[in-house]
């Protein structure tokens, strides 16, 4: 599966190389990330490009990072459309997305990770499934999405709290207040990005 190979690339060798690039080639991690994002200052961009022209290792690695970033952006787009795709494709997308989350962040700082609403829903769903069953988790999430975002709309950072409240209510209605409290705590523990 694509997500697994991405993790190996991103979380393993590339991350080590990234550190080497920082320490041995005179550029900070922030500069590399801004360069890849295209948000770097023009003067710094010129310095990086000049360095890449003369450093084969960094050039190879940078091109790999560009590919990796592009794929993750594609996954993010896929996640945004997650509720309009078949269940199997949805599951597959979710899996690779979570792989990305896992590989991109050190353990212990998950709540402050820049979660998208779709990723947040995935985490909540995965949390709920072993207790109330996949079907119940799906039904309560669908109901909460409907109540929070309305027909044809999406859950985003701006309506996340409302969504979590509605999901907690639906979960408590079927499985009890303890379960509703769990969903509420876990949902609000995720810092969801706006937009």
């Amino acid at each position: 599966m694509e997500g697994v190979s991405l993790e190996k690339e991103a979380g393993g060798a590339i991350r080590k190389e990234f550190s080497l690039m920082n320490s041995e080639h005179g550029f900070s991690e922030r500069q590399w990330l801004e360069f890849l994002d295209g948000t770097i200052e023009p003067a710094e961009q010129a310095q990086v490009l000049e360095h890449l022209a003369g450093c084969a290792d960094c050039a190879t690695l940078a091109s790999e990072l560009v590919v990796w970033r592009t794929r993750l952006l594609e996954e993010g787009q896929g996640l945004r459309e997650a509720f309009s795709v078949p269940e199997e494709a949805f599951q597959s997308m979710l899996s690779s997305s979570i792989e990305r989350i896992r590989s991109a962040e050190p353990a212990g700082v998950r709540s402050s990770f820049g979660w998208t609403a779709a990723e947040g829903i995935i985490v909540l769903r995965f949390l709920m499934e072993p207790i109330c069953g996949p079907g119940t988790a799906r039904a309560t999430i669908e109901l909460a999405v409907q109540r929070s975002a309305g027909e044809g709309s999406r859950v985003t950072g701006s309506n996340w709290r409302l969504f979590v409240g509605n999901l907690s209510d639906a979960a408590a209605w079927i499985c009890g207040s303890a379960f509703g409290r769990l969903v509420y705590r876990a949902g609000l523990g995720l810092a969801i990005e706006e937009g």
């Binding site: 599966m1 709540s111 207790i131 079907g135 209605w173 499985c175 009890g176 876990a186």
Partner: protein, 305 residues
């Protein structure tokens, strides 16, 4: 430490097995030597064992009900189920007393026939509770889809009613001196069919749920209801010894399926409470754990591929 903490699913299944074996022995002896002392002892033991199963379940049902919010349909459902179980305890204790005191031989058509009152009240409460469970699920869009095969199951369940009614003269309490008891006895097949019909809906809900302790709980409830109806039907054919034995096996084991249903539902509350506490204490560690578990799950299909 409460009596509930000593019971695991395995122990409840063990109790179900013991009840089934004792029920089979009771049925076999009932065919071979109906009036023997061993039969009476087994009957008394089985009533007490069944009373214990319902008595064990009743406080858990109340705890489950209290886990739901005020004015929640599910809270009402579990209160009704708790009341049904409590009345079942009274019924079985009363029957134990009837066996121990010998009323089963001397006052069968008078005092003992009054057992129909708790039987009927318990069934009505149970049916109302199950309808409330169904109603709760429909509010989130579950339990609304049926299959064509369901019509066949409904027909089979409904077919039990006239079959059982045609054999009503075989029912002990049909001979009661009290007219009200005779009417209640006639109503009991319908009162057993009603929850069995609801169980069909609950079965569909468990299929929609896909798994988890909540689905297991509902499955046990479904099995409990179907087994009771089956036991009643089998028990009304005294001319066929195998049916007599089978009906006792199924009947005495069924109460433990109810206990299992309650047990699994209670596990949902326990698991959710424990997890919620953990999230309150250290949300980051829990989120790390859940994403890690999700990643592991996602890696499994990749390994297979």
């Amino acid at each position: 430490m409460s009596v509930h903490s000593h019971f695991t699913a395995a122990r409840l299944w063990g109790a179900l097995g013991i009840a089934a074996i004792a029920g089979t022995a009771y049925g076999a002896l009932l065919v071979a030597s109906p009036g023997s002392l061993t039969v009476r002892w087994l009957q008394l033991s089985l009533h007490l064992l069944t009373a214990f199963a319902y008595a064990w379940s009743t406080p858990l049902c109340v705890k489950i009900a209290n886990d739901y919010r005020e004015r929640s349909t599910m809270r009402l459902a579990w209160r009704l189920i708790a009341a049904s179980a409590a009345i079942a305890v009274i019924r079985h204790l009363f029957e134990s007393l009837a066996v121990a005191a010998g009323w089963i031989d001397t006052r069968l058509t008078t005092l003992v026939s009054l057992r129909q009152i708790p039987i009927v009240v318990s069934l009505i409460l149970l049916t109302a509770g199950l309808v409330a469970v169904w109603s709760s699920f429909t509010s989130i869009g579950m339990g609304l889809r049926f299959r064509r095969a369901d019509a066949l199951f409904i027909a089979i369940i409904l077919a039990f009613v006239p079959s059982i009614l045609s054999l009503r003269d075989e029912m002990f309490d049909r001979q009661s001196v009290y007219p009200i008891i005779r009417h209640l006895q006639v109503a009991s097949p319908m009162l057993l069919a009603a929850p069995a019909l609801v169980s069909l809906v609950l079965h569909r809900i468990t299929q929609e749920m896909g798994g988890g302790p909540l689905a297991t709980s509902l499955r046990c409830l479904v099995a409990f209801l179907v087994m009771r109806l089956l036991a009643l039907f089998l028990g009304l054919s005294p001319g066929i010894p195998v049916f007599t034995v089978a009906s006792r096996t199924v009947w005495w084991a069924a109460a433990w399926l109810f206990a299992l249903a309650v047990f699994h539902r209670w596990q949902v509350t326990l698991a959710a409470s424990e997890l919620a506490d953990r999230y309150e204490a250290d949300p980051d560690a829990e989120l790390a754990g859940v994403t890690h578990a999700l990643a592991l799950r996602s890696a499994q299909p990749a390994a297979k591929n």
